[in-house]
């Protein structure tokens, strides 16, 4: 899951539009997940998943204690944490990877790998997934 989270973050880091104000890749990944999964599980459903993911990620990333999931599923307080996420660099930090990985991990637990990938393909192009095995982070 960490590998896939890393790939999504790297993709979003490179996909930012220069004409728009810079937004942290982690926020873009999170928002895309909120949009695509929200349609399927509903706002409340996504809010529950995201809250759980945040709780699971906090012990590994103490700075996430400042963040919380709002009723609409958006992540609040992330902007303050962005500085510590080393904003502007191409490579993603452990903190943001862990947060996204926990969210994807929950999806895999509930839906399994195949269906999780199917749902994510709605939000990202196929090359991001590149036949990757989620469990081991290696090519199948």
């Amino acid at each position: 899951m960490r590998d896939l989270a890393h790939r999504l973050l790297v993709y979003e880091a490179g996909a930012g539009n220069a004409s728009e104000p810079p937004e942290h890749p982690a926020i873009r990944v999170y928002e895309k997940l909120r949009q695509s999964l929200g349609e399927f599980v509903g706002v409340a459903g996504f809010q529950s998943l995201a809250s759980r993911a945040l709780t699971l990620a906090r012990p590994e990333v103490p700075s996430l204690s400042a963040a919380q999931v709002a009723a609409d599923g958006s992540l609040e307080g992330l902007r303050e944490i962005e500085i510590r996420f080393d904003m502007g660099k191409d490579s993603a930090t452990d903190g943001e990877i862990i947060l996204i990985a926990r969210l994807l991990g929950l999806l895999r637990i509930f839906l399994g790998e195949a269906l999780t990938l199917r749902l994510l393909r709605n939000a990202w192009p196929a090359e991001v997934f590149d036949d990757r095995n989620l469990e081991h982070g290696r090519k199948a």
Binding site: V41, G45, G112, R121
Partner: protein, 504 residues
């Protein structure tokens, strides 16, 4: 209006084995259907099967989830079914959650949201699961009936086949205006019968085509819902005219008693008490069929197929090779909660798979015991339907039945099923000269001649062997306690009556 002027209504496969037959060949395209039933009755699974059977990327399915089961858990469980094809998500099947709209707004907003998504996706199939949970606010501008009326109009115009899923109790069926809007109404029931769960479905309403009336058993397995039509899927099959051909038992003397053998397409009952050789006779019947190139099915309930085949080997009959060659199937059906229809469907599937010409049911008592208690009351009726269906396509059925040995009576069957059979062969013990010996008599051959002789037989290493002449020097043989008489042998005289003479 001539036939060619009439609009042709396409029928869509339901994706549920057996249900197409029940609904008259498939569900009408663009129909507006309600799947109703209590929680846990299989409504969502049935809708999923239809969706997976019909959705394509070009004409996708939109599956709207409302309140109730969480979408993520629904997919978690539904993907366990074999029909669930993840590759159809999300291009061919899209799940859209409407819970927020329902919680925060009214039915008008829900309709608006569905309309927006339908216009965007141009779906072939739309499911709303569960529409009943949408009614939360009594003060809503739109009541459920208006909502459904407008939804039905809209979705029909957009050429979508629609399913609304709703939790309804049995007593809510009457006078419910919601149901008048629907083109189709499928009701799923689940009841406890002693220690077994019995599931039944009913097509209460289906506009535009004939469906099979009545309650049909269904089961939910890892393949999803499987329905068992009361007509066993054979309604469309033409009944074969009687061929007049005679099928041999491989026992020359018995064939002669039957005026040349059992007529093809007959239902034969072999009745007798324990140990009289009913199964042996049945095995010889099936083995002789295979020898003559007629594939066979043996449905056993009281012993395992291996044991059945081994016993045949001890009689010099090879049932192993024809099984390997696909000429013989021995079905072992013993779960105690089978519905009678699914048991019969298993037999029918096997018959159709190998093109069986002979079927042995060994025994009817075992068959009945294998059924869920709730189905035992329907046993005779279901048996009648199956026998009628199978003999109609030319399959010859031999059923064995154990009868209580009485030394004062001579019952044909404890099940009162002799009306289901064309021919009855009765085996019984008889006390003669200080020995418990066996006799055989043909009680009935519908529409045909048969010997009236009572013949003694033995079970040897070659199977049932009929001995000598008829037992003419005894009176009261069928009582089991005959009296020896000194009368001259009347065998020839009696045989002249039947025209079937045995001078061996």
């Amino acid at each position: 209006m001539s036939t060619q002027d009439k609009v042709k209504i396409n029928k869509l496969p339901t994706g549920v084995p057996g249900l197409d037959e029940i609904v008259g060949g498939g569900l009408p395209e663009f129909s507006f259907n309600i799947i109703a039933g209590a929680p846990g009755s299989g409504k969502t699974t049935l809708a999923h099967q239809f969706v997976f059977a019909n959705a394509t990327p070009e004409r996708p399915a939109l599956y709207f989830t409302v309140l109730g089961e969480s979408a993520i858990k629904m997919l978690r469980y539904q993907q366990q079914y074999t029909f669930f094809d993840p590759s159809k998500l999300p291009d061919a099947i899209r799940f859209i959650n409407l819970s927020q709209v329902v919680l925060e707004k009214d039915l008008g907003a829900v309709l608006e949201e569905i309309t927006k998504e339908v216009e965007k996706a141009n779906p072939a199939v739309v499911v709303v699961d569960s529409f009943r949970t949408m009614v939360r606010k009594p003060e809503s501008d739109m009541d459920l009936q208006s909502f459904i009326q407008r939804l039905a109009l809209f979705l029909a115009s957009w050429q979508a086949t629609t399913f609304l899923i709703g939790e309804y109790a049995e007593d809510e069926l009457r006078d419910n205006p919601i149901f008048t809007v629907a083109d189709g109404l499928i009701w799923l029931r689940q009841t406890a019968e002693r220690n077994s769960i019995v599931r039944k479905l009913q097509v209460i309403k289906l506009r535009g085509q004939d469906s099979v009336p009545g309650l049909h058993t269904f089961r939910i397995t890892d393949a999803g819902v499987q329905a068992f039509s009361r007509t066993f899927g054979l309604t469309a099959r033409k009944r074969n005219p009687p061929s007049g051909r005679r099928l041999s038992f491989g026992i020359a003397k018995l064939d002669k008693m039957l005026d040349g053998g059992v007529r093809e397409g007959d239902s034969v009952l072999v009745a007798g008490s324990s140990g009289t050789g009913k199964s042996v006779l049945a095995t010889q019947f099936i083995a002789e069929g295979i020898r003559q190139g007629e594939p066979g099915i043996v449905a056993v309930f009281e012993e395992r197929p291996e044991a059945y085949a081994e016993r045949a080997t001890s009689l010099g009959l090879d049932l192993e090779t024809p099984q390997k060659d696909g000429k013989l199937t021995i079905l072992y059906l013993r779960p105690l909660d089978l519905s009678v229809d699914e048991t019969m469907q298993s037999i029918l599937d096997a018959v159709q798979k190998i093109g069986a010409k002979r079927l042995v049911i060994d025994s009817l008592a075992g068959f009945e015991m294998a059924l869920s208690p709730g189905f035992r009351a329907d046993f005779r009726e279901s048996l009648y339907r199956m026998i009628f269906a199978l003999t109609g396509i030319g399959v010859t059925i031999l059923s064995t039945v154990e009868v209580d040995e009485s030394f004062t009576e001579f019952p044909f069957s404890t099940y009162s099923i002799s009306f289901l059979t064309d021919d009855i062969i009765r085996l019984r013990y008889v006390s003669i000269d200080g020995q418990l010996r066996k006799i055989m008599v043909v009680i009935k051959m519908r529409g045909g001649n048969h010997a009236k002789d009572i013949r003694e037989y033995e079970i040897t290493s070659k199977g049932v062997v009929i001995l000598g002449k008829r037992l003419a020097n005894y009176q009261g043989l069928i009582s089991g306690i005959p009296v020896h008489t000194d009368r001259p042998n009347l065998a020839d005289e009696s045989s002249q009556d039947t025209g079937i003479e045995d001078k061996n």
